[in-house]
């Protein structure tokens, strides 16, 4: 059995071991990532699991980091948007979001990028309906979703080795 106390616990984030000290009770993983570990990529917009902006991978499962009690994530492998590609070298999904016009204000984007990576890991060539259902936990207020679907489809086609 693992025990974490708010005085000190350890999280495994993006392949690194990170100590969290003097946390307050009840801090979510989202809060700890942003405010204690300086990883600002996950965004908070509802803190109810109703927008997906804070999506991260925990043991390869896409979850809302606002609904993960940070101290309960000890021993799990946490991957945030900062952990999927080095600065300036975006993944194919990230580049497709830029190229397809899937980004406007960009606040939902890190969460959607994580959700898209997770989807394409499990389903290499999702149908449009599968894309819509799999990403339906990620709210975007700017784009109306059309360009995001285009971005996901572009990646699926490119990974298959398809050209135009």
């Amino acid at each position: 059995m693992t025990e974490a106390t708010t005085e000190m616990y350890v999280l495994h984030v993006n392949g690194e071991t990170r100590e969290v000290r003097d946390a307050a009770p009840g801090e979510s993983l989202l809060f700890v990532l942003r405010e204690r570990l300086g990883l600002m990529g996950a965004k908070g917009a509802c803190e109810q699991g109703e927008c997906g902006s804070c999506s991260v991978l925990v043991d390869e499962s896409l979850v809302c980091s606002c609904l993960v009690l940070a101290a309960s994530a000890v021993g799990r492998r946490i991957v945030t948007v900062e952990g999927i590609a080095p600065p300036g070298a975006p993944t194919d999904v990230q580049q497709a979001f830029v190229d397809a016009g899937a980004v406007q204000c960009g606040f939902c984007t890190p969460g959607l990028v994580m959700a898209t990576h997770s989807l394409l890991e499990r389903v290499a060539e999702p149908t449009e309906l599968e894309i819509r259902e799999e990403l339906s936990g990620n709210i975007c207020r700017c784009t109306g979703y059309g360009r995001i679907i285009d971005a996901v489809q572009r990646v699926a086609v490119a990974r298959r080795g398809g050209g135009a």
Binding site: T2, E3, G26, S28, E50, V63, V68, S72, V74
Partner: protein, 283 residues
């Protein structure tokens, strides 16, 4: 504050016995909303999402039952093999929150929260599920109807842990239908679960979001049981209508910011009729 993360049921039970006031954390999708909104303070937490026994499920072909560990997630339940064994529960699983919520949220958490709008509960009610608990006084099992005692209230005692739920694998059609104002990620305005037991010639209907607890509809069930031809998949239109009307009458809905009592009652009638029509496609 401390957070314990046991990996075995013994360890979890011992931890909870030692600290009965500790908060049991499953997927976090209900609890953390309350924490984030400052409606709940957590001090000592026992996170049960890595307890091996709770993460497991088993199918017993002899007794034709399925026992699902409390920490099995909705995303597991929405797909095969659950879809074949307990289709109403799997269909309900697919309507729980968002994909992210379904990856984290568990069947045990749904039972622990016991919201009348919990999507997993109408199928569990209609399946006449048995809820298994363990605690300082040993193990006990309760029928769902005795487990849920009110809105967000249940029979779990302090120091007790929900370990699993057992449901029958039945022959016969099942379904769950849920009304919300959005086409995804929405709290049920009204939900209906239908479970047929073709071997016993019985039908069970359970209603969510239209009462303080999940409501069964004995009158409607009796009408269908008396009139339906399970082998032929036949239920005459007048009987179907009478059953839907009885379900409507069984609802005890309220007005709130999500909908009105009148609409909820109406929706229960419509959904019941449609579920019955899908189950008995022949007039």
């Amino acid at each position: 504050m401390s957070v314990l993360v046991p990996t075995s049921l013994d360890a979890a039970r011992d931890a909870l016995s030692a600290n009965p006031s500790a908060t049991v954390l499953a997927g976090g999708t209900d609890l953390m909303v309350e924490v984030n909104e400052r409606r709940r303070e957590v001090v000592d937490v026992i996170a049960v999402d890595r307890v091996a026994e709770l993460r497991a499920w088993s199918h017993d072909p002899v007794s034709r039952t399925l026992t699902i560990g409390a920490a099995v997630t909705w995303s597991e339940i929405e797909d095969a093999p659950f879809l074949a064994w307990v289709p109403s529960l799997a269909q309900a699983a697919r309507t729980v929150g968002s994909p992210q919520i379904r990856h984290a949220g568990t069947i045990g958490g749904n039972l622990g929260t016991c919201s009348p709008a919990g999507d997993g509960l109408p199928p569990l009610s209609a399946l006449e599920a048995v809820v298994h608990l363990t605690g300082p006084g040993g193990e006990r099992s309760l029928p769902f109807a005795e487990f849920m005692t009110g809105p967000k209230r249940n029979a779990r005692a302090a120091g007790e842990l929900i370990t699993a739920v057992t449901v029958p694998v039945l022959r016969g059609p099942q379904g769950y239908a849920k009304v919300g104002v959005r086409n995804a990620m929405v709290i049920a305005t009204a939900g209906v679960a239908l479970v047929c037991d073709a071997d016993a010639g019985g039908v069970r209907l359970a209603l969510g979001s239209v009462g303080p607890v999940i409501l069964r509809c004995p009158e409607a069930e009796a009408i269908v049981a008396a009139e339906a031809d399970f082998a032929a998949g036949r239920l005459a239109e007048p009987a179907l209508r009478a059953a839907a009307e009885a379900a409507r009458a069984a609802a005890r809905p309220i007005d709130d910011h999500r909908s009105t009592a009148a609409y909820r009652r109406h929706a229960v009638g419509v959904l019941t009729a449609r579920l019955l029509r899908r189950a008995f496609p022949h007039d």
